[in-house]
Symmetry: C2
Subunit: 374 residues, 2 copies
């Protein structure tokens, strides 16, 4: 279990197979986000149809609602949400720091108030692991602290705490059927990033996550951090860039050696009527689409593009019909799945590096980032 076999390489980019209890992940892979045990507005059948293999869900959200013990008692997250392919949960750290109210951090853990009802809760590394063991995802995360990248002293403190918490997370685990990843932090301080990469790489984990990016730093800083961190990571473990990305970020990340991505972008954009299209991101509410008989993307094989025109999608949006979000989510996710399929194909035949400029140019109009809101 949790073998990682690299099947092709193209400079830093690689394809691989990561084996999990719920099947193999063919990497590089993009994971749709199912925050509350559902990828918003989509059924598991839709996710299978777009060829998703890995779905992420959020420890913080599920702990608060419906509760991790309830999920455990219902047979675990896979059974609960009807998704029988691989799943990943985060540690809850990011949401505690970005979403919860009035938090107090100490070396042992974090006390916070729920964003739902203001009730007080406490996460420690041990608690985060216990929750994630109750949820039962295939890939779980060490508890970490994501700091403000602009505060250097705090960034070091948070990084050091993250390292202690990674050790405690490893100690706390009791299940052997979950792959626990440590998380590299260090903000945009490249010395801290290197220090964190070396430390997390030294731990006995089947994979390594890179956190604290896509949280307000520039794209250049993100690239620099990846260029510092990745060469310090073992070749034979999958690398997961958390909460990233845009189509451009996926191309850039794979080029630097990233294997796993997740992001709310495609589904969140969809719920705001925004669709990935060849000519750039479209706001389908725009009146110019009222009589547009084309699908979002004539080259896309998704259910939405095979079945519906832009005119119909615009009608649904204007008429406030929720089906619009479902249909655009299907397309946006499938667009990223197709991009990843294309990238894997190009790595496989050794031409990915040569195609990077073309891929970036194709997607440049869809590249605008949005803030990761958790």
């Amino acid at each position: 279990m949790f073998d990682f076999e690299i099947t092709a390489k193209n400079n830093h980019a690689r394809t691989g197979i990561f084996s999990t209890p719920h099947g193999n992940l063919i990497t590089p892979v993009f994971a749709p986000v199912g925050t509350q045990a559902t990828v918003k507005t989509l059924t598991p059948e839709h996710l299978k149809e777009i060829n998703a293999s890995l779905v992420l869900s959020n420890t913080y959200h599920l702990y608060l609602r419906p509760g991790d013990e309830l999920v455990r008692d219902m047979g675990g997250l896979h059974k609960f949400m009807g998704w029988h392919r691989p799943m990943l949960t985060d540690s809850g750290g990011f949401q505690v720091f970005s979403l919860a109210q009035t938090r107090k951090i100490d070396d042992d853990g974090v006390t916070f108030k729920s964003h739902i009802d203001g009730s007080t809760h406490r996460f420690t590394p041990e608690k985060s692991i216990a929750i994630q063991e109750n949820l039962g995802a295939d890939i779980i995360m060490a508890f970490d602290e994501c700091s403000d990248p602009n505060d250097h002293a705090y960034t070091r403190l948070a990084m050091e705490r993250t390292h202690r918490w990674a050790e405690r997370s490893l100690q706390a685990r009791t299940r052997s059927d979950q792959a626990l990843f440590g998380i590299v932090q260090g903000g945009v301080d490249m010395d801290l990033r290197a220090e964190s990469a070396r430390f997390i790489a030294s731990l006995d984990t089947p994979g390594i996550a890179i956190g604290g990016l896509s949280v307000g730093e520039t794209k250049q800083e993100m690239h620099e951090a990846l260029d510092v961190v990745i060469p310090l990571l073992p070749e034979d473990k999958p690398r997961y860039l958390m909460g990233v990305g845009t189509p451009e970020d996926l191309i850039d990340g794979v080029a630097r050696g990233i294997d796993i991505f997740d992001c709310v972008l495609p589904t969140r954009l969809a719920r705001h009527h925004s669709a990935f299209a060849p000519e750039g991101r479209l706001n389908l509410m725009n009146a110019s689409f009222a009589r547009d008989q084309n699908p979002i993307d004539a080259g896309c094989d998704c259910y939405t593009c095979r079945t519906f025109t832009r005119a119909y999608l615009r009608h649904l949006i204007v008429a406030k019909e929720l089906l619009a979000g479902t249909l655009i989510s299907i397309h946006n996710l499938r667009a990223l799945m197709r991009l990843m399929e294309q990238i894997r194909h190009l790595i496989g035949n050794g031409t990915f590096e040569a195609h990077i400029p073309e891929l970036l140019s194709l997607w440049s109009n869809n590249a605008k980032r949005i803030k990761h809101e958790g």
Copy 2:
């Protein structure tokens, strides 16, 4: 086209095949309502999976948004919404009288203000038919006036106007690939109902609708009206009871000789977390379902019941996830489809009449009616 072949009879109840340009309807049939060219929160694939054969859409809504000429120019309603089985549009009359603001009725037609933006519009029989021809459903309705059942003088006036408008609707039509049904009105005055049935039956139409029921009258009054009207209708034309019904109404209606039903009930209930279940209608938000590992109905073959527990559905509801409405809609619609399949089977083997008490008893806890809101 529009042949109606009766395939079995059981006292007044019958099964039949009504042929339309988009395929045969096996009757008795229940039509999900797709008010704005979408059955709310469901894709056409979901509708095929529940084995829906006929979908209704609303002339009033589509005229206002996105506009019937736009739908025509996009290739018609079937192509626009991706539903290639039979469709039915109403005349717009019911919504003008129940939903639009500040309406003025005269013998020629109705002037009303849009409930969306207050703009002024006018429907006449000719206009209603022109709109419905632009939309392009297989079954269309004559323009009618639905009166307050408690106002006898007005009910007569509205009925007489409905008769004139039915004649004008027939005169106005230009397409031979749409089945235009006249509508029997007359409120709860049984003399008027009989008069209306005789008049509408005398018109040369391939089917007959019964309107103005399920609008505030008692169940007894509805039954009485059906018992008066149906014997006056030709045997060899399908009979459509508009905007009805509950599971109980479907059983009672078929027993009296109705062939076609539509109602927003199953999907509207679903969006309010209410599900048809063996023990009666369930409010799935109830805390008692938090750890309920059963599907809504263990005897149901729908995607929702095959895949998800009540506990999961309750979680989605509490977490305000829109997927809840989708999944419960699939179940509620499939429950009525299964009921209709069962009814057709029983008529086919000659035992429907004998099973009516059992069917009514099985569904008695799911029978509460809701007001038809248009």
